[in-house]
Amino acid sequence: MSRELKGWKDIPIAGVCWKPATEYLTGDWKTFKPIHDPEKCTKCLLCSLICPDSAIKWNQANEELMFDYDFCKGCGICANECPADAIKMVREGEG
């Protein structure tokens, strides 16, 4: 993360936020990491719909799910809800 600061003349008036939140990576919050098993996956896309952090993305071209570990906070909702049991949570650094 860059540390450069803006001067008062460069800051937008009225406290308008100017940076997209996607520059702030929340992935390092997690303790557990979801591991996806494409063999078991039925591609129902439920995990992608219920992820609070939009961290499970659908690749239209390849028709496959991509887990974005830069933003995944490791809550485990996807693993808990997966109807096909295709996602399991492992401790970060072990999987």
Binding site: C17, L45, S54
Partner: protein, 326 residues
Amino acid sequence: MTTTPWKFTAKEIVEKPELFTSGHRACAGCGPAIALRQIMKATRGPTIVTSATGCMEVVSTIYPYTAWKVPFIHTAFENVAANASGIEAALKVMKRKGRLEHENVDVIAFAGDGGTFDIGIQALSGAAERGHDFLYILYDNEAYMNTGIQRSGGTPHGASTTTSPAGRVIPGKPQYKKPIADIMVAHDIPYVATASISSWQDLLVKTRKGLEIEGPAFMHVFTPCPRGWRYDPSKTIEIARLGVETCIFPLWETIDGEYSLSPQSKILALKPERKKKVTEYLKMQRRFRHLFKPEFKHVIDEIQQMVDKRWNRLLKRCNMTQASQS
């Protein structure tokens, strides 16, 4: 009312661009963040979002970062509905003067339970009475979570919060939850609905209906909070589903004051044996754990009675009768 044909399939929704992006700083397993993400996927065109102070405002716009891809205006705790009224009135004038590029711009107001049940109700009531065309979304996590779990008008009976702590004498919050959606129905507005993050399709369809209807629309969304309700973050959707299955949070909608049950709750009215006991919902959350001590057992019975009473009242309003139970 402009009705465009729409149906929501999982693939279609997943392929839609994110208007509430990743990188927001909500807790892991946040229920309201799921609701906001899904609601923003149901928008039909240019949308302006305004939000009261609350969890979702705090986590999504931490200076200088913003998680919103739509115009977003933060306002004080009490006046999100007034703010939405102002936006809608300004859009109307701009349209009349021919200065609006778009044919239609939707206005969505987000507020938490504190900003709706307690602090924001006068602004909401006023905006509903004046008949502004906007959709008001209440994401209900049942306490003031971002300031440290203080009780609100939306906190259920028996829940332990930092300002209604469970002790040896008092079993958590002594009062019952305010029936806010019924209060909004009494304002005689065209559309009121309750939704839960456990059924995404229902939530999206109701959002779109609320946006398409001319005049004020109100939606009460049930969004569990792992931090304040004290459960494992992975159980968010499971608890939201149990809330519906135990009839603690039934799903229904009213169009012009006519009540109708949504499929997830209708099945419980038709097959009462599928309705679960409230203990199943209560035992998953540590904010209710004191209720399982022998001295507070009666509180669980009180909760069950109240849930049944409100459920039967709802069935009567929907012209359905509960087949005899147990």
